[in-house]
């Protein structure tokens, strides 16, 4: 009695997993337009990206001309990944510099102006970690894997707090230096004003004395 219901349940689960929801952000791109998406990534972080052309309606198949080109650049302008006129692809790399990484998408011109939807998924840091390897490595129970994932998330939250704290300290230092600089400028402007007035008076006095008017 338990076995047939279990078989049904397992079939349902398999169905759920097969039709698992699309885990991507979708963007629209007009033909001939460039769309750039940037993400700030820390140094030595694993980053993974996947992109594909999306079909907004299930019934109509996509025309062949719906293709997208992509270029991923590092903050210093180095190209980490590029592809021309593909309908799907992926990239993965470990960052060597911290900063804004830019992923730019564009499409070639279409004669009747078309809008292409593409799906893009970009994960970096702890979310980019591939858990399927860890799960396969032996009889590791699924719950343990989930808890390990949570532990990783907590560790990344902790690191992020340290990063935020150090950035705030930097900003406080900059504000303090701006404050000191403004004080010096105010003092300097007073001295400059007085000295310019004094120079004017001295110069005109000697000028008139030379002209024998005074």
């Amino acid at each position: 009695m338990a076995i047939p219901s279990l078989a049904l349940l397992s079939a349902l689960v398999v169905l759920c997993l097969l039709t698992s929801p699309v885990r991507c952000l979708r963007f629209d791109l007009q033909s001939g337009q460039i769309k750039c998406i940037s993400e700030e990534i820390k140094i030595n972080a694993m980053t993974v990206g996947k992109y594909s052309i999306a079909n907004p309606s299930e019934s109509v198949p996509l025309p062949e001309s719906h293709r997208v080109s992509i270029k991923v650049t590092s903050p210093y302008g180095e190209s980490m990944h590029s592809a021309e006129n593909v309908d799907s692809g992926s990239f993965a790399f470990v960052t060597k510099e911290a900063g804004d990484y830019l992923a730019c998408f564009w499409t070639p011109e279409h004669k009747p102006a078309a809008t292409i939807s593409f799906e893009f998924e970009w994960k970096s840091g702890v979310t980019a970690k591939d858990w399927s390897n860890v799960a396969k490595k032996g009889q590791v129970e699924l719950m343990e894997v989930e808890l390990k994932k949570l532990e990783d998330v907590v560790k990344s939250i902790h690191d992020e707090m340290f990063y935020l704290r150090s950035r705030e300290e930097e900003m406080q230092d900059m504000n303090r230096s701006t404050n000191t600089r403004m004080a010096w400028f105010g003092f300097l402007s007073l001295i400059l004003c007085l000295s310019v007035a004094g120079l004017q008076i001295w110069h005109l006095k000697t000028f008139f004395e030379r002209k024998k008017l005074l």
Partner: protein
């Protein structure tokens, strides 16, 4: 014996269901908006909690004042507006998705200057008691793990918001510093130039070609 193995299988299955329901849709990306930019996100189940935030990180504004703000709208798959904010320079949002489908998050820039927007959207799903009732093997601990995961996601989301706001604050501070330095140095130059012009003018009034006895 058969009961124990059935229970274990049920536990594994429930974990499989749960891991498929661990909606992990969360992104922290930046987009440059000149007029209108829309992002689509798929919500898998009815009643999922969609949360997120966005912060406008100003471009280099040297002469003008702060940007008036960005309009943000969320449209459901049926075409109704779920959420609408106008003239914001950054905010958090949260709503319960009334139905599953493709939701549209749009940023509209009323003014010409392009702005960079840092946004983060998270769709969270917790298997609720309805699912518990359907399958007696579903352990309540898995629901608790899902709730814990959602709570941690909210902390991560808040951190991303703080980071984006700190970046915007730093941008404003750096721009203020540059502007004040520039204006002060220009003021000094203007003062020195004005006084030099004064002296030159007075000297000219007394120069021989003009005829100083006229003065």
């Amino acid at each position: 014996m058969a009961m124990r193995s059935a229970r274990f299988q049920g536990l594994v299955l429930s974990l499989l269901i749960l891991s498929s329901g661990f909606a992990d849709f969360s992104y922290g990306l930046s987009l440059t908006v000149s007029d209108t930019e829309c992002v689509y996100e798929y919500v898998a189940y009815d009643g999922d909690a969609v949360s997120g935030n966005f912060v406008v990180v100003d471009h280099d504004i040297f002469w003008g004042s702060d940007h008036p703000g960005i309009d943000f709208t969320v449209t459901s798959p049926g075409g109704n507006t779920v959420l609408s904010m106008t003239g914001k320079s950054g905010d958090k949002f949260e709503f319960k998705a009334p139905r599953a489908g493709m939701y549209k998050f749009c940023f509209h820039n009323k003014y010409g200057a392009p702005e960079t927007i840092s946004f983060y959207i998270h769709v969270g799903h917790i298997p609720n008691e309805h699912n518990l009732a359907k399958d007696e093997h579903l352990d309540p601990i898995n629901v608790k793990i899902a709730q814990l995961r959602e709570a941690l996601e909210s902390v991560t989301s808040e951190q991303k918001y703080l980071k984006a706001r700190e970046a915007r604050h730093r941008h404003t501070n750096e721009s203020t510093r540059r502007r004040v330095t520039f204006y002060t140095l220009t003021e000094y130059l203007a003062l020195v130039a004005a006084s030099c012009l004064q002296v030159i003018y007075i000297r000219r009034l007394f120069s021989k070609n003009v005829g100083y006895n006229r003065v």
